[in-house]
């Protein structure tokens, strides 16, 4: 069960695995809830955005919203007004997949009025193998710059430490140690641990938060 507040904002450094986590999470959520919408708010990255997988998401019952400019060939920082619909509809479950870094998090300012305590969660995805989020100081700086740009508070951490298909259990545990220190420093819980599907059965007992098996959806088999 994904017992989070109705609006879930997913933030993190680019390359942390935000989009993979968001898509996997939304698909899981759609198995439990009727109305699930995923908004691709990425105005930073030109490739690997969740809008590329709209067909797959719709098959799973996830409504996808992104730019009002159709096609993957646009790098205009444009977000559709459609995003407001599910945010205002109290019976909708919303996942906001926010583009890289504090620059991308500026899009969230527009939706500030919907980030009411108890109605939203903002999860920060942490990959301890990304150069700028390898240390506690790095992660804290990252979180504070995103909180500043979005004017919303992070409510949970997600350990998503990986090296793509070469991820090992040790990598996951390295990320967990980092997340625990950040968790203690900020008094925010570790809500999920994102792990590539093939590793799930090898994980030890003491994994923090709910384990979210990650299917690599954005990454083609040849990558």
């Amino acid at each position: 069960m994904l017992n989070d507040n109705r609006i879930r904002v997913i933030i993190g450094h680019y390359g942390s695995g935000k989009t993979e986590f968001s898509i996997n999470y939304a698909i899981q959520l759609a198995k439990e809830e009727k109305k699930v919408a995923l908004a691709d708010l990425d105005v930073v990255n030109p490739y690997f955005r969740s809008r590329e997988k709209h067909g797959l998401l719709e098959e799973h019952g996830v409504k996808i919203m992104s730019s009002y400019v159709k096609g993957s060939g646009s790098d205009l920082p444009a977000v559709s007004a459609d995003v407001l619909g599910p945010l205002q509809d109290k019976s909708s479950n919303v996942v906001l997949d926010v583009g890289g870094d504090s620059m991308g998090a500026r899009t969230l300012g527009r939706y500030r009025e919907y980030f009411v305590e108890g109605d939203y969660d903002m999860f920060c995805i942490i990959n301890a193998n990304r150069i700028e989020t390898q240390t506690v100081e790095g992660v804290l700086h990252h979180i504070s710059s995103i909180e500043g740009a979005s004017r919303a508070k992070v409510t949970g951490l997600i350990n998503n430490t990986h090296l793509l298909r070469t991820t090992t259990v040790d990598e996951v545990l390295k990320g967990q140690r980092l997340c625990k220190e950040v968790s203690e420093a900020l008094n925010i819980p570790i809500k999920y641990t994102g792990v590539i599907e093939s590793l799930v059965n090898q994980l030890p007992q003491d994994i923090e938060g709910t384990i979210m098996p990650i299917k690599m959806i954005m990454r083609e088999a040849w990558m």
Binding site: Y14, Y47, F48, D75, I131, E220
Partner: protein
Amino acid sequence: MDKVLMKGNEAIGAAAIKAGCKYFFGYPITPQNELPEFMSRELPKIDGVFVQAESEVAAINMIYGAAGTGARVMTSSSSPGVALKQEGISYIAGAELPCVIVNISRGGPGLGGIQPSQADYFQSTRGGGNGDYRHLVYAPASLQEAVDLTIEAFDVADYYRNPVIVIGDGMIGQMMEPVEFKEPKKRELPNKDWATTGTKGERRPNIINSLALDPAELEKHNIKLDKKYKEIEKNEVRYEMYKMDKAEVVMVAYGTTARIVKNAIDALREEGINAGLIRPITLWPFPNKAFNEIPDTAKALLSVEMSMGQMIDDVKIANEGRLPVHFYGRAGGMIPTPEAIMDKVKEIIGGGK
């Protein structure tokens, strides 16, 4: 150092700094923006300088000037931006200055689109600038290779006093992969006694120039440059052969496309169809000699590209009329699938019976 996960554009920037690049001049364009962004953040930390120029033309001429001082310099852009740099590249080659130019290429012609493409093969290997000049072109197929080749590019540029291009389709710039930064193997590099570093009244001024008023002098310069290019052709060719054993169809592909082709080859071999790959790592000089290593079992060559077939000419030149040459490609930012490549191979084998 442990492996870190990096985006291609960042990894190339970090590799350049590792290689001693101190100065970067560029102008933004998708899909390479993370590279100048990275340099703008990192270069000031090492007493380097980042300048966002007013255009690509300005940026390449800043490279021309900075390279003349003997410093390690780099610029980056994407297809139409690199088109704008061609005049400056010709001047730099004429004046024999070392520099590294990165092209994270996208669909064309014209402004084209922002999705990955390999339609700058002609631009890179034939040159869009004027005159008898050539430059080395590295085409990495993974981020680790992009890192290694970028580091090496600075040495090679210094060694030959020549611009070096590192070309990756947009996918190489945008994708994430684990990379590590290894110490490069050292080349013996000549002193930069040609650099404009100030005479201090102790020597005659060094002059950086690509203008010649006397045709006989210019011809002498052309012959000297040509000798250098032949030297590069002899020494710097780089390629990979993949699963050539008993190959019936030999594919030729570089960069991202080579990765997809490798997947197709693995799947074909599981079905009992023997295919192999020649992967040029240098697009110029083209690995002609790899074609002499093709096994007797080969019935056809297949050039696979993210373009309408710009590499076919080089494949035909290297092939010297020995085997029929086929082509499969996607263009405009579309990426070939392993399945479509497999179908093409089956069609060629079927048609040959």
